[in-house]
Structure formats: structure tokens, C-alpha cells
């Protein structure tokens, strides 16, 4: 296979989407790097060409191929091309991209199990079609030798097909029986095997009724349901892996004079690690060199940056803002504070795992019922006919085939596939199979503030309170820094058409602010204590010009796009909305009033968030938690169902059931509507299946069921269930 790859690539660009294994083999030959990017926002053919053109224009890129189904791009490039550069290049043409860890993804890329199921499905479909054609001749009155011939040909097609295609059911049934339990696959396997065995016996006796077509179409329809189910699960699993891979964790280790980039797993306690401004702390540690400010909003929800100097301890996940820091590692990987919360999460998770899905509840009633009914039919007819085993067995097989959960096997997967496809198009990834059902049940929504309702990006609020001269000086100073408050100030002032004053000797003092000389006077922009200003409770930066008293620039966190709409629509749906944040009361109250949320809690610790959700749950509410920070993780796991944005810390994304890929929050309200609709479709589907059974089972029990009736009942119920599921679109 490997040798075929180069010719395939050159001969047919459409075949270039070769799987990881082949590309890896090729990579080891040529020394090229293969980079995988996740592209959550692509959706059309224009996007494909724009992204591919954008990537190919980048020097060193040899080939780029977008996979729209998985929303990924795989790139072959010279070894010196960094994923970061490509992400920047794509940002330039207007697409967000994240790097994916190839090692984690290779397993899902070659979806062996899915292909295996598809192949069994194809074989079953092919055999069912042919046997059905032969059966049509029998139903329309073929007799004697012709009927026997057709039965024998059917048997020749059906028996090997059943042996191959129905294996997944047999295996599952064996597994369940070996631990002395019943599952859906037991009646399925029994029906298929009994039908095939019975029909073979009838054929040898030149009997009138053979159920080969029914056994095959049963296999076919059930495999179709199984395949849909597998695909939804595979997408969910690959999503979970994709999220784990989103942040490829690396750190810059200092050994003597040299710096090297290593994986976090390789770090040991006592190592020295350099964190550049704008970088995230990879580990827990103590600052040994440098001063800076750190943003802890992801961990605590505070929006105000905190000063960091020598001796200050920092936690993994915090963002370094202004100056380079050297850390001495105190805890790495599994021991770091990012993982300490795992216990809390695990505790909350175990309560959620007790949720039984609709399909499981149906199966619990159904599987014993089917066996009982077939046995009753067998025993009853044995007694009525006075010991005619052949007749009794024939009727029992007919009952098994007709009651077999063909439509039930399709009822749930068809709906969840349609619904999760629809949600994916709106930018939501469902990570958990039962999340959709749980989402449909919620009546209370709890939001986190920082990073969830807001973008975690500050916005200037008091532009008009200042002299134009102060503004000009502030702009000149702020332009010299990449601190988020400075960047926000520059954005706001540029928008107001302020011209920067001319300053000299500009220099940034990491951890404090920026200073310069303006018309011979010293000017400073930075932390309150540093410019001799009174610190206010709001997020603010302060400007002092010469001896004049300092002025403050206050900021609020910018609202996330669609936040207002999402809250308003959720309230219109009659859901109770809460806001629980770790930020200061002033900031939380302002946000709650802006969005019209009456119930808010400020300065909540992570445990308090989780226990607040526990309290609401005990009061009888089903809670949807929307959050992004480490402080939300326990709460996300404790809630009935949880959603986190893709910008969230990995711990939060892992704990949540659904991930919002885009920036916009507006799809949130639609998602609950889609979930409710899909659950009612699942219920309808169960209803349809039950109605078919109510009509067909008495006929079968009375012994009037012919193979034709069985084939009709099965196909009609399966098709109507699938069509009902598709109405969701």
C-alpha cells in the first residue's frame, strides 16, 4: 500500500487524503512534517478553496487537503514549517484553526470498526436484495420444483451471508449470555438463527414457508441502525480526542545556558521553565526570575491581572502577560493544580453515569417480553395442535421475526445521527451519547461569567471622562505594550481617532506598566500602586502625567457575541437562568443587570459552584451548566448536562458533554429546541414500532403470518421510523 501512495497523489489529487499510517511511512522517508489542523468554522466549497489556497501560498507547504466532513486540514510541509505559522496564515484569510496532535488522532482516522460494519452492511444488503427477488417469485405463486429450487438458491445466498454479516450480533449476544444477562442482541440473534435454521429444515422437507428473506432483511436493517449508531459514537469519540489534542502541551526548559522545547510529561520537579509573555503556565511553579502580571481568569474567574514577582507561586493554566518569567517546577503533569480537581470531577461524574438512555429503558422491557411471547406461541400451538413441533416452531419463529426490534434498533440511532449532524452544522459537538436526551430535559441554565458570557477581552468604558491630552499620552504609552488592557486601550483610542503624542525613552517595566518622558515630564501607565493612584474595584489601568494626580481608565469584559440573544431566548423558553462567577460582586452584578439575569452569585469558589448546582438539582431542577474555566469543571460535571466553549481549558472541555466550536453563544437556545424535538421524535418512533407490533403480533400468534407478512411488517416499520427521524432536518 505504501508504494502506491506517491503515484496516487500525483495521478489524482482527490485520492490524496491518505490515512495517517501511509503518510507517516512516507514522512519517515522524505523527512517532511505532517500537520493536522482543526478548522471549526469551515462550511462550504468557498472555504475549502480559500483554506487550501491560503495554506499552499505559505512557503514550505507541499500539499494541503481539507476534509470538510471532519472539519480538518492535513498538511504536508517541509520540516521547518511550524503549525503556529500556518494558524496565523489561516487567521489572515479569516479562519480559526487549532493544532491537533496526530498521535492521538491516528486511531480514529483509520476507522476500522466503521469500515468493517459498512462492509457487513453492504454484503447483507446485496444478499437481501437477491433473496427478496427470488421470494417475490415464490409469493406470486411458484410451486413444487421451482419453489424448491428458489428456496435452495436463497439458502445458498443467505446462510454464508448470515454467518458473515450477523457476527456483531452473535458476539454481543454471547458476551451478554456469558455473564447471564439479556440484551437486545439476544432476541435478534435468536430470531436470525432460528429463522435460518427453520427455513433450511423446511426447504429440505419441500415446505411452503421459508424465512430467508426475513432473516436477511432483519440483519440488514439492524446493521444499518448499528452503523448509524457507530458513526455518531465515532464522531463523538474523535471529538473528545480532538479536544484532548487541541492544546499540544509543550514547555521551554532551561538546562544551563540552553533552552529546549519539551513535552510537559518530560518535566520533573525542580526543572527551570521559561514562560514568554502571552504564554500559558505549563506547570505549577515558583517564580525565580523576572516580574510580570498574570491573568488567572481561567482558573478563578477574576478579570483583574495579578502581579507576579520572585517567590510568587503560579498555577498551570494561568497566562503570563508582560515580562518573561522563569519558573521552578513544583508540580507537573498529573500532580499540577490542573489535575487536582480531577477528584471533584470524578465524584460528580459517577452520579451522571447512572443516567439510563431511552433506548436502554426500552430494551429492558422489550428483550424479556419478546422471548416470553415467542415461548408462549410455541407452547400454546404445541398444545393446540396436539404435539406438532414443526407447526409450533414455525409460528414461534414468525413471532420472533415480527416482534424483533428492527424499528427499535433504528429508532434512536437514526434520530441522534440527524440531530447531532444538525447541531454540528450550528457549531456544537456532542461528546456524549446521552447528552442530547439530557439536554432535552433541562429547565434551569447556569452560566459562568468570565470567558463564557464574556470573551475574556476587556473593553474601555470611560473614554469620555478624559482630556484629549491624557488620551494622546495614554495611546503613545499603551502602543508600547502587548498587555491585554493596553491593547484594549489602543483599540478604543484608535477607534475614537485619537492621535498618539510624541514621547521619548519609552520602556516597559514588566509587572508594573509602561513609562516614558513627555515634554520633559515623566509619564507612567500601569498598576495603581506604581503610579501612586487609589486602586478601584473595577478592572482598570492608571495614567500619571508629571505631578498631576493620576487618572484611571476602567474596563469591562467584552460580551461574547450572541450572549444577550441566548439568555433572552432561554428565558423566553421558560427556563430559569442563573449566573455564578468567581469574579468580584461589582463586576458580576453589572453583567447580570446588563443581561437581565435575576439570580447571580459572585466570588464563588469551585466547590461552591458545584454545591450550588447540587442544591438546585435537589430542589428538583435539571441544570444545564455553561462554563469554561477550571473553577467551573466540578460544576460542569455535577450538572445534568454541560456545555463549554472551545476556548475553554481542556479540563473543562473534558468534563462537559457538548462543546461550542464557534465564538457565538446564540446556537445555545436553538440546541435545546433541537434536543427537545429529537427526543419527541425518538418517542414517536417507539410509538410507531409499538403500533406495528400491536397489529402484527396477534396475526403471528394466530398462525396467519406468512413470510410475505413478515417482510412487509419489517420493511414498513423500519422505513417509516427512518423517515420520521429525517423529518428533523
Amino acid at each position: 500500500m505504501n508504494t502506491a501512495v506517491p503515484t496516487q497523489v500525483s495521478g489524482c489529487p482527490a485520492c490524496a487524503a491518505s490515512p495517517a499510517a501511509e503518510a507517516l511511512a512516507e514522512q519517515s522517508k522524505s523527512g517532511d512534517a505532517r500537520i493536522l489542523l482543526s478548522l471549526p468554522t469551515i462550511h462550504c466549497s468557498g472555504c475549502i478553496s480559500a483554506v487550501e489556497r491560503g495554506l499552499l501560498a505559505h512557503p514550505g507547504v507541499k500539499s494541503a487537503r481539507v476534509n470538510l466532513t471532519l472539519k480538518r486540514a492535513s498538511i504536508e510541509a517541509a520540516p521547518d514549517v511550524e503549525a503556529g505559522d500556518l494558524i496565523k496564515a489561516l487567521d489572515g484569510v479569516g479562519y480559526t484553526a487549532h493544532e491537533l496532535d496526530r498521535g492521538l488522532l491516528s486511531a480514529t482516522e483509520n476507522d476500522k470498526a466503521g469500515r468493517d460494519l459498512l462492509m457487513r452492511l453492504a454484503v447483507a444488503g446485496f444478499a437481501a436484495m437477491n433473496v427478496m427477488l427470488l421470494s417475490v417469485a415464490i409469493w406470486s405463486g411458484a410451486e413444487a420444483a421451482t419453489r424448491d429450487l428458489f428456496h435452495w438458491i436463497s439458502a445458498a445466498i443467505a446462510l454464508p451471508t448470515i454467518a458473515f454479516s450477523a457476527q456483531p450480533f452473535f458476539k454481543n449476544a454471547m458476551r451478554a449470555l456469558s455473564v447471564r444477562r439479556l440484551n437486545m442482541d439476544v432476541p435478534i440473534s435468536l430470531a436470525i438463527l432460528l429463522a435460518a435454521g427453520m427455513s433450511l429444515f423446511e426447504t429440505t422437507q419441500s415446505g411452503e414457508h421459508a424465512y430467508f428473506d426475513a432473516a436477511l432483511s432483519l440483519t440488514f436493517f439492524l446493521l444499518a441502525g448499528r452503523y448509524l449508531d457507530h458513526r455518531t459514537r465515532a464522531v463523538a469519540r474523535s471529538a473528545a480526542e480532538e479536544l484532548a489534542a487541541l492544546e499540544v502541551p509543550r514547555a521551554t526548559r532551561l538546562t544551563g545556558e540552553t533552552e529546549e522545547v519539551v513535552a510537559i510529561a518530560e518535566l520533573a520537579v525542580g526543572d527551570l521553565v521559561r514562560v514568554k509573555p502571552g504564554g500559558r503556565m505549563p506547570v505549577d511553579g515558583i517564580v525565580t526570575e523576572g516580574t510580570s502580571e498574570i491573568d488567572r481568569s481561567l482558573l478563578t474567574g477574576e478579570t483583574l491581572p495579578v502581579f507576579a514577582g520572585i517567590g510568587q507561586s503560579v498555577s498551570a493554566g494561568e497566562v503570563n502577560l508582560t515580562g518573561p518569567l522563569t519558573l521552578k517546577v513544583t508540580a507537573a503533569g498529573e500532580d499540577s493544580s490542573l489535575h487536582v480537581m480531577a477528584d471533584l470531577v470524578a465524584m460528580a461524574e459517577s452520579s451522571k453515569n447512572r443516567y439510563t438512555s431511552l433506548a436502554d429503558r426500552a430494551a429492558q422491557i422489550y428483550a424479556p417480553g419478546v422471548h416470553l411471547l415467542a415461548f408462549v406461541a410455541f407452547a400454546g400451538w404445541l398444545w393446540i395442535s396436539g404435539g406438532d413441533v414443526r407447526l409450533a416452531l414455525n409460528i414461534a419463529v414468525a413471532v420472533l421475526i415480527i416482534t424483533c426490534p428492527c424499528a427499535l434498533g433504528l429508532a434512536v440511532p437514526a434520530v441522534t445521527t440527524a440531530a447531532s449532524g444538525q447541531l454540528f452544522r450550528k457549531g456544537m459537538l456532542i461528546k456524549d451519547g446521552t447528552a442530547l436526551e439530557r439536554l432535552a430535559e433541562i429547565d434551569t441554565v447556569v452560566f459562568d461569567k468570565t470567558g463564557t458570557l464574556t470573551e475574556g477581552r476587556p473593553e474601555l468604558t470611560n473614554l469620555n471622562d478624559h482630556d484629549i491630552k491624557d488620551l494622546e499620552v495614554a495611546l503613545a504609552l499603551a502602543e508600547g505594550s502587548s498587555h491585554p488592557l493596553a491593547v484594549a486601550l489602543v483599540d478604543a483610542l484608535n477607534e475614537a481617532n485619537v492621535k498618539a503624542a510624541t514621547v521619548t525613552d519609552l520602556k516597559e517595566v514588566p509587572g508594573y506598566g509602561i513609562e516614558a518622558r513627555f515634554c520633559g515630564m515623566p509619564v507612567r501607565l500601569g498598576r495603581a500602586a506604581w503610579v501612586d493612584a487609589e486602586a478601584s474595584e473595577m478592572t482598570a489601568t492608571y495614567l500619571s502625567v508629571g505631578k498631576a494626580s493620576p487618572v484611571s481608565f476602567t474596563f469591562v469584559d467584552r460580551l461574547r457575541a450572541g450572549a444577550e440573544q441566548a439568555v433572552a431566548e432561554l428565558k423566553a423558553q421558560g427556563k430559569t437562568v442563573h449566573l455564578i462567577s468567581g469574579d468580584t460582586p461589582a463586576a458580576v452584578q453589572a453583567m447580570a443587570e446588563r443581561l437581565g439575569i435575576e439570580n447571580w452569585v459572585a466570588e464563588a469558589l469551585p466547590e461552591e459552584k458545584a454545591s450550588a448546582i447540587g442544591a438546585v438539582t435537589r430542589a428538583g431542577a435539571r441544570v444545564l451548566m455553561v462554563g469554561d474555566g477550571l473553577n467551573d469543571t466540578a460544576a460542569l460535571a455535577a450538572a445534568h448536562v454541560s456545555i463549554s466553549p472551545a476556548t475553554a481549558l481542556d479540563a473543562a472541555r473534558v468534563a462537559s458533554d457538548i462543546v461550542l466550536l464557534g465564538v457565538d453563544l446564540a446556537p445555545l437556545a436553538e440546541a435545546t429546541v433541537i434536543a427537545e424535538k429529537s427526543v419527541s421524535r425518538i418517542r414517536e418512533n417507539f410509538g410507531i414500532a409499538v403500533v406495528y407490533n400491536l397489529i402484527a403480533v396477534p396475526i403471528a400468534l394466530l398462525g396467519f403470518a406468512t413470510p410475505l407478512a413478515a417482510a412487509l411488517a419489517m420493511s414498513l416499520s423500519s422505513i417509516s421510523v427512518s423517515l420520521n427521524a429525517l423529518r428533523l432536518r
Partner: protein
């Protein structure tokens, strides 16, 4: 009725041909990106020569 001796094998052979074609398509990764392929066919981009 003797025609059946020919017709049934022929119909099975033709059906098997379709099945084999499906296997080939499955093995050559043509089901990896169904959505992307349906969009690409409408793409106005084209190249004089296949990419190296």
C-alpha cells in the same frame, strides 16, 4: 423455465459486480469525506497539471 439456469447466475454475477465496486470504493477512501467531495465538484478552481 430453463432460462432460469442462465438468468439467476447472471443476475447474481451483476449484483456481485456492484458489491465488488462498493468494496473498491470503500478501500480507496472514497467515503472519508463525503461532504467535502460534494462541495469540491462545484469548485471553480482548477489546475493545468496535477500537483506534484
Amino acid at each position: 423455465m430453463e432460462m432460469l439456469v442462465y438468468l439467476i447466475p447472471i443476475s447474481l454475477f451483476l449484483g456481485g459486480l456492484g458489491l465488488a465496486a462498493f468494496f473498491w470504493a470503500l478501500k480507496s477512501h472514497q467515503y472519508d469525506d463525503p461532504e467535502g467531495d460534494s462541495q469540491r465538484i462545484l469548485s471553480p478552481d482548477w489546475e493545468e497539471e496535477p500537483r506534484p
